[in-house]
């Protein structure tokens, strides 16, 4: 099976869907001639032209709003918001408009809109290093997808592009170079299905995004010490599929939620709450949450590293949980 990076997997999904369906087009800042800030759309401008790979002004609200209108008008737009930090400028379009069009108007309208955006950090300081998936996971009417492997990234982007609802598709810049197997040919990975990425018996880790890769690395190290953790990848944050989590907790009796967020009022808080609501009797210990330290991200390299969770933090947390 071919091996490729997540960046290449996303590009391939876009390319194949654009070849398959003329209604699919891309719009965003520097997606065209520049090739994408993170080089995800590189080559697509040359292949599909400026009509279908459309550079826009730096106007996030209009990028999402125009894409939303185009979706209503019969197209399948991919709106790229360069980084998730800038998406705050488009929150009104996403929350008050895209998420409302179907329900508020009694099911008359469909919104086949995909909003791709990149999360991450890298000594970019406070305004360019934020973790905001919870803002969207909070909103009924949206679908929120956060893949962490090349296989999932390609398959879930294809699923998103064939969906009839607005999908927020979050990529992590630290994951773009991650390599993995991607089969030849067309496939989709359904939205709304969590998956056990590594089986184990001693403890359940619930995670997604960059922290999936960090958790898998931690699991490798723990395995060398005789501790077998089960890693559940949520992949989709809304609609949230908790069944694999409950099944895992029934087996391991311990749960650690690992996310890159500030812990307060986070996705991790929601997962922990649900586990105690629905699997309280299975637990041998309180659910533990690992996240980032709650400060605006500093520029300094050592401080940035201290803010973020790393595989060694996951190892430490698992050991605390099993103590």
């Amino acid at each position: 099976m071919p091996v490729m990076t997540i960046r290449e997997a996303i590009r391939q999904a876009l390319q194949e869907e654009m070849q398959r369906d003329r209604r699919v087009f891309i719009m965003g800042e520097d997606v065209g001639a520049y090739g994408g800030t993170y080089a995800v759309t590189r080559g697509l401008y040359e292949e599909f032209g400026e009509e279908r790979v459309r550079d826009t002004p730096i106007a996030e609200s209009a990028i999402v709003g125009v894409a939303l209108g185009a979706a209503l008008g019969g197209l399948r737009p991919v709106a790229e918001i360069m980084t998730i930090n800038f998406i705050l400028l488009a929150l009104d379009q996403i929350v008050n408009h895209a998420a409302k069009m179907s329900h508020m108007f009694g099911g008359q309208f469909k919104v086949p809109l995909v909003i791709r955006t990149a999360a991450g950090w890298g000594q970019l300081a406070a305004t360019h290093s934020q973790t905001f998936e919870v803002y969207f996971a909070y909103v009924p009417g949206l679908k929120v997808v956060y893949p962490a492997t090349p296989y999932d990234a390609k398959g879930m982007l294809k699923a998103a592009l064939r969906d009839e609802d607005p999908v927020i598709f979050i990529e992590h810049t630290a994951l773009y170079p991650v390599r993995g197997e991607v089969p030849d040919g067309d496939y989709v990975v359904p939205i709304g299905r969590s998956e056990v990425k590594r089986p184990g018996r001693d403890c359940t880790i619930v995670t997604y995004g960059r922290m999936l890769q960090a958790s898998l690395q931690a699991a490798e190290q723990l395995a060398r010490e005789g501790i077998e953790v089960e890693v559940v990848d949520l992949r989709t944050l809304r609609p949230l599929d908790m069944e694999p989590v409950y099944e895992s907790v029934a087996k391991t009796h311990r749960a650690l939620v690992v996310t890159e967020e500030w812990r307060s009022f986070s996705v991790g808080a929601e997962i922990a709450a649900r586990i105690q609501e629905h699997a309280f009797d299975d637990l041998d210990a309180p659910v533990m949450r690992l996240g980032s330290r709650e400060v605006p991200m500093p520029y300094n390299k050592h401080m940035e590293r201290a803010v973020l969770p790393w595989p060694e933090d996951v190892v430490k947390a698992v050991k605390l949980l099993l103590r």
């Binding site: 709003g65 939303l68 209503l72 379009q93 408009h97 099911g107 919104v111 679908k143 609609p239």
Partner: protein, 357 residues
């Protein structure tokens, strides 16, 4: 109302008002009267507690909706703001389903989910009343872009108030509309107030059409109390867009005779000012035109009023008698394509109701 913007559209493209036949003019009159009566009866129903929430009445502005929307074809797209009752009626939506929506009924145009500010009809390419000021303007550009991309000869008309021209999305939308040369008509209903703030206090430029020059969009100002003038200008705007020239901007100066919403005590404007504008009532003005210029017998106009009264009786009866939406449909329409194992918060609700979760 003078004032044409720089880079004007050619008047040659316009359908001259002189060609409007009498039946069409009478249909304009009937629509205006229907809107007026719909709003008056909605106000009474609100006072009776049958309608709740915000109720923004369109009384006084009827000439804008009727004149402008008459310039559209059925396949054209229409979006508007939250004071949307008049636009929906002018677009041809059944007033029964509109009143039912105000009553929150299952038969409402948005099945009781939307209320006063969120009328819509897919069938009529009427993409909604939108209640976040200016928020629907980018959406309008997108609808117009889709038509252009697909090679469909549709024009999109976006209606908004003067206050929407002070918000950032207005600039973003006009800029993208012009950049991408999309067939969109921006129609500003300048009723001189953003809720209770006078335009002089909110906007450094009070001749709103002049704002369109920021995106090199041809613009003009029209008397929004004159249905024929609005129709003529809107026809010019729509044909400009349909011919592939890109966006066009129209400012219709008008006045709402009622408060911002039914709850508004109107502390910010004088009774004299309101009375002065009521002298220019668009329905009375058009009535005079029909009587004096067209020579329509008064009895014929009275028959229209009686016909509207009969229709409104049926409208109110329909709204009263329609059922509420069943509570077990609460989660319907949340997703066009429900996926995965998600079942709403059904599991919690089952526990709440004493089930097994």
């Amino acid at each position: 109302m003078g004032g044409r913007g720089k880079g004007n559209a050619s008047r040659a493209a316009a359908a001259p008002v002189a060609t409007l036949d009498l039946p069409t003019k009478l249909s304009f009159y009937r629509q205006m009267v229907l809107i007026r009566r719909f709003e008056e009866l909605a106000r009474i129903a609100y006072q009776q507690g049958k309608i709740a929430g915000f109720l923004h009445l369109y009384i006084g502005e009827e000439a804008v909706a009727v004149g402008a929307i008459a310039a559209l074809r059925p396949e054209d797209h229409l979006l508007t703001h939250y004071r949307d009752h008049g636009h929906a009626i002018a677009r041809g939506l059944d007033p029964r389903v509109l009143m039912a929506e105000l009553f929150g009924k299952a038969t409402g145009c948005s099945r009781g989910r939307g209320g006063s500010m969120h009328f819509a009809s897919r069938e009529h390419n009427f993409w909604g009343g939108h209640a976040i000021v200016g928020g629907h303007l980018p959406m309008a550009v997108g609808l117009a872009f889709a038509a252009k991309y697909l090679g469909e000869p549709r024009v999109t008309m976006a209606i908004f108030g003067d206050a929407a021209t002070d918000i950032g999305e207005f600039y973003e939308a006009l800029n993208m509309a012009a950049l991408w040369k999309t067939p969109v008509v921006f129609l500003c209903e300048n009723n001189l107030y953003g809720m209770g703030v006078a335009i002089e206090k909110a906007s450094a430029v009070t001749e709103v059409y002049k704002k369109a020059c920021m995106a090199n969009i041809p613009a003009e100002r029209v008397d929004g109390m004159d249905v024929l003038a609005v129709y003529e200008a809107a026809t010019r705007a729509v044909e400009w867009a349909r011919a592939g020239n890109g966006p066009y901007f129209l400012e219709a100066v008008c006045y709402r005779f009622q408060g911002h919403s039914v709850a508004d005590p109107e502390l910010y404007r004088s009774k004299e000012e309101v009375e002065k504008w009521k002298q220019r009532d668009p329905i009375q003005r058009f009535r005079r035109h029909l009587l004096e210029v067209e020579g329509v017998p008064e009895a014929q106009l009275e028959a229209i009023h009686q016909d509207v009264e009969r229709e409104m009786e049926e409208v109110m009866r329909f709204a009263e008698e329609s059922p509420d939406p069943p509570l077990d449909t609460l989660y319907d329409f949340l997703y066009a394509n429900p996926v995965g194992a998600w079942r709403g918060d059904e599991r919690f609700l089952q526990l709440w109701d004493g089930g097994q979760g």
